[in-house]
Amino acid sequence: MEQAIEYLPQLLQGLVLTVVVTLIVMVLATALGLLVAIGRMSRFALVRGPLTAYVEFVRGTPTLVHLYYVFYVLPLVGVTLPAVLAGVIGLTIGYAAYLSEVFRAAIGSVPLVQQEAADSLGLSKVQSFRLVIMPQATRVALPPTVNYLLSLFKDTSLLSIITIQELMFTGLLIGSMTFQYFIIFTEVAILYFCVCYPWAWLARRLEKRLSPDGGQSTSKRLAKTRRQLFMSDGMAGQK
């Protein structure tokens, strides 16, 4: 217990870096993802093509490979980046692609007639995207986006491999010196959880508040279906 307290300040430092990196990647990946999503709706094949290729390629390769590429391969061609920057870029490559798919699906889920209604009122394409399509798409995109950000937060543990002193690396470092792996990784796990859990809770709240019927959260809807399922189960069981 004393040891646990002894390691805590260092681990917390690692956690701070983990959170900072997550926030930076989150902002970059969201902005880029939105641009990619919009670019892929372009009428110019020259814009669409490369973006589609990028998204497909990235989705078909592990995040660790992206990280290694930026950290180990770029220096071979003369581009040497500080580890943290390499880590941020490596994670952004993947998450921008994932999020662009989320945004694209969300934009696609807004009925075409909404665009028609906006057009008929004389709104410009930019105005109707900003005022009509985006607000509706945001509601659809928010829950999956928050889930991706949750896994982004957890994926930052991969950065330990390229020597960034985030939470995981700090844990490994202390472990290699003290061999107190049980205490250390229990602490590491608890720290990750302490950030993730409120986030997930916040996500549910947001989803509920933003849903167009202003009403039922996923869990409530699920609970309802589950009750119905159990009811029929129960009746079958009584026979």
Partner: protein
């Protein structure tokens, strides 16, 4: 100079708000509109009748500039908008930005209301005036409130579409269109998704608008409205205008067989 010659529309009656000439529209080589001529006069309530699939929606969408044309000519208040594949006349099309501007002057109300679900009733109505006409937000809101009161929804201004009945949503949609003060209002079967009670509410609003002298083109199956509010009936079949006239002449003395058949069917159904 040359451009002016092209865009000038000859021989249009001075009071024409919108006209189409030799309008043909094909989808995958199937003609949906076939050589349609129609001029909408200022202040008239033109009712478009015809069987399902006769091309009423397509014609209305062409008038709303929401649909490209295959050939023919469209003009708005003496100004040419499109001309394609007309004998001895050069093709012409206004720019996208001019078209966007014109669309603010032509309002369309859809069968499925198409309100913006993330906005309240008053926000739906004030959106385009604020962002397109650049009306001051307070002024736009005050006007939106007036319009919602006019359509009988003064107590529902802050409701979102999912909190409104179909008939209420449709009346918000009408107010939203009216907020742009359009020169021409198009209605495409705006009551066909509503029950009789709600239909009556919406028709009453439409009648008020008509009595205000608004120029309207109305596609509807409500024969009472066609007869009593319509000033001219145009009957379509297979993408063509087969007959037109005053409600009295067309209802009491239809000439074309298809008109007779159609009227028989709907009047007996009602």
């Amino acid at each position: 100079m040359a451009k002016k010659d092209v865009s000038q529309v000859s021989e249009m009656p001075a009071d024409s708000v919108m006209h189409v000439r030799n309008l043909t529209k094909t989808f995958n080589e199937t003609p949906v509109l076939d050589d349609v001529d129609l001029s909408v006069e200022k202040g008239e309530v033109l009712v478009l009748l015809g069987q399902s699939g006769s091309g009423k929606t397509t014609l209305l969408r062409c008038l709303a500039l929401a649909e490209g044309i295959t050939s023919g000519e469209i003009g708005f208040r003496g100004q040419l908008i499109h001309r394609r594949s007309m004998p001895d006349q050069p093709n012409f099309s206004i720019s996208a930005s001019e078209k966007q501007k014109l669309r603010t002057q032509i309002g369309i109300v859809f069968q499925q209301y198409n309100l913006f679900p993330h906005l309240t009733a008053i926000q739906n109505v004030a959106l385009a005036p604020v962002h397109v006409l650049k009306v001051d937000r307070d002024v736009a809101n005050a006007r939106a409130k007036e319009l919602l009161e006019m359509v009988g929804l003064g107590s529902r201004v802050d409701f979102k579409s999912h909190e409104l009945s179909g008939g209420q949503q449709q009346r918000v949609a009408i107010a939203r269109t009216l907020a742009m003060s359009p020169q021409l209002l198009l209605f495409d079967e705006v009551t066909s998704a509503l029950d009789p009670q709600m239909t009556a509410e919406v028709l009453a609003v439409m009648k008020d608008i008509a009595l205000n002298g608004t120029t309207m083109v109305v596609v509807t199956h409500e024969m009472g409205f066609a007869k009593h509010v319509g000033t001219r009936i145009v009957f379509m079949a297979d993408g063509r205008v087969v007959e037109s006239g005053t409600p009295t002449s067309l209802f009491e003395n239809p000439k074309d067989d298809r008109t007779k058949e159609f009227l028989n069917a709907v009047l007996h159904a009602n």
